[in-house]
Symmetry: C2
Subunit: 401 residues, 2 copies
Amino acid sequence: MTPLLTDLRVVEVSAFIAAPLGGMTLAQLGAEVIRIDPIGGNIDYRRWPLNEAGESLYWASLNKGKRSVAIDLRHAEGQELARALIGAPGEGGGILVTNLPAKGWMDYETLRQSRHDLIMLQLTGNPDGSSAVDYTVNCASGLPHATGPTAEPVNHVMPVWDVAAGLYIATGLLAAERHRARTGAGQKIDLSLADVMLASVANLGFTAEVEINGTGRQPIGNDLYGAYGHDFATRDGRRVMVVAITTRQWAAIGLATGLSERLAMIGPMMGVDLATEGGRFAARHAISAVLEPWFAARSLGEVREALEAAGVLWGPYQDFAQLVGEDSRFSADNPMFRQVDHHGIGPFLTPGSPLAFGAVTRQEPGSAPRLGSATEAVLHERLGLAAHEIARLAERGIVSL
Amino acid sequence: MTPLLTDLRVVEVSAFIAAPLGGMTLAQLGAEVIRIDPIGGNIDYRRWPLNEAGESLYWASLNKGKRSVAIDLRHAEGQELARALIGAPGEGGGILVTNLPAKGWMDYETLRQSRHDLIMLQLTGNPDGSSAVDYTVNCASGLPHATGPTAEPVNHVMPVWDVAAGLYIATGLLAAERHRARTGAGQKIDLSLADVMLASVANLGFTAEVEINGTGRQPIGNDLYGAYGHDFATRDGRRVMVVAITTRQWAAIGLATGLSERLAMIGPMMGVDLATEGGRFAARHAISAVLEPWFAARSLGEVREALEAAGVLWGPYQDFAQLVGEDSRFSADNPMFRQVDHHGIGPFLTPGSPLAFGAVTRQEPGSAPRLGSATEAVLHERLGLAAHEIARLAERGIVSL
């Protein structure tokens, strides 16, 4: 079966999370993604977590299904090779994504000389091109001050802005390629991590709240804002998140716990209408107080059984070991996952794209390439170099194979 | 100038964050996005935060630039209208995104009878189609247990999985439309919030760490894993995040604070090599101890000046009010933002797409439509209904205008 993004060819000169995730997202939909790295790897090649042998689980996980070309990018001849690869002909080619400084040989106007319809997406930290990373963008987002039970800022562990930027990259490249297929025109696309953060925070209404209502969102611990949601401890030391947004979900909590009548007393007691989301939010502490003993008296298994039977919207808290060990969605039974043997690391459960397309078989997740393992094939296929020419480049240290 | 995604037409039957964000992402790149809602609005129409008059800042922010069609979807005739709109002819049409149960009239096989090349993306909570929301997926991700200073789980406030799913939706629809333009074939695309979470956590190496190294990531407060990053309080009660990933960034911290020599004592003292990221991570508490008094003795302004001069990678913490009031990137000087007057709410700073495409002017962010404001125009344009026919439908309560 032909892959979904057949004939799409993207060159990636990247490091860290966002740009590699952008490339991988397209690779997992069937695009050919060629990651060009300096010989020995880019700055992210040994990023933690590592296995015992020092291989990066992070690099292995963010570069699956790509082809690796290793070139000495400080050398003029290496730069020329990279430029030629980026500008190589072909309808779905001529697409570059990078989060490195696009200066000198990698400047857009320079690269465009090899291919006038080049599409180049450059990710920067700030809109003005200055440096920023997920951590230095996140602290400015307002979210850390609203996270956790107090106003003490709490950083996220999930690199949200990197992941969102990676997905904007995939969207942006597909949109630009659609435009080029219709008009023949390439273009430069600029994206900054800070703009991804600012747009997201504004799209969710956090800044409008300040501008219109004069108040910023306050920390409310693990509760859910504007509706009912709370986390409860179980008898066996586990914890669950329970949510009610719709009236049906709210009724289900009473049904599952047998506490409908007591919960109904809260409305008059607190002077709120529990039939509304806002009323349940206002009375959330009273609701949680009524429910807490029920959860504390039951094991996770018992809680699960009762909540599922009544159709409550809920989920168990899991640490990473519990996610790996207990969650049936994290298993080879989930068609997104495969057990993949990764070079120098060994087998671990590896996801393909979460997008399941009916018209094509899901692309195998694959593994990250050994550094430089596609240098020879790509230089031959795309630039027509002969084996002895490539061997000579390798001897001189311009490329590594 | 023609918009980037000219001739792309998406119908959205949606609620909450992910599906509306997917539609808005495409609308902000120039696609025509028609959101069909039940008369009076869908379940997200009054979601918090609200303004004083009860208008939702959340809905207004997630539905910008769309056209609104309001139809009684419980009525057979209303369902027939919606089905006809989804299947309306046109090269870039025949695309539906929904996160509602796709049963009955909205079943894929049923809809395909009106248009054989229909592209339909359905977002569910779990891969098996059962319900889940960001909160009940997030608790299972492992991340809350690794967030904050202790193993007590901390929920994120940013709905990460919703936002990532929204961007996967935009990517998935563009990929499927590219495939259809080449092959003529439509398809159903399935995506679940849980798979987005599982893929993301695995792509970042969190699960491989458990499977390969036998250990899950532990909470380390606001520190950065595998390199140096820490938050410091300033004399004037503010807080900053300071990060060093590269050697240059590490040297800059010593330079800015004048503490290079003292920092250099930490290597031998702790028995680590501070020239490596891993060494700096291992010695992070000692590093922070040396740096802390420097920050505590200075105001945010003084800290900013010294860090900027030395090229330190850093950022200030801001709550939402500070983000709105102090951050120059959150202003009309940033070309992503416009001051937009929103129906029933008033003006607030509103982002367009963070993607800036060189070949086209950035689409104005626009505002969310008044519910049903495009019903008449869309029924006329797409289904050829005459004014008196539409008026009759409105009188009978099948549509609202």
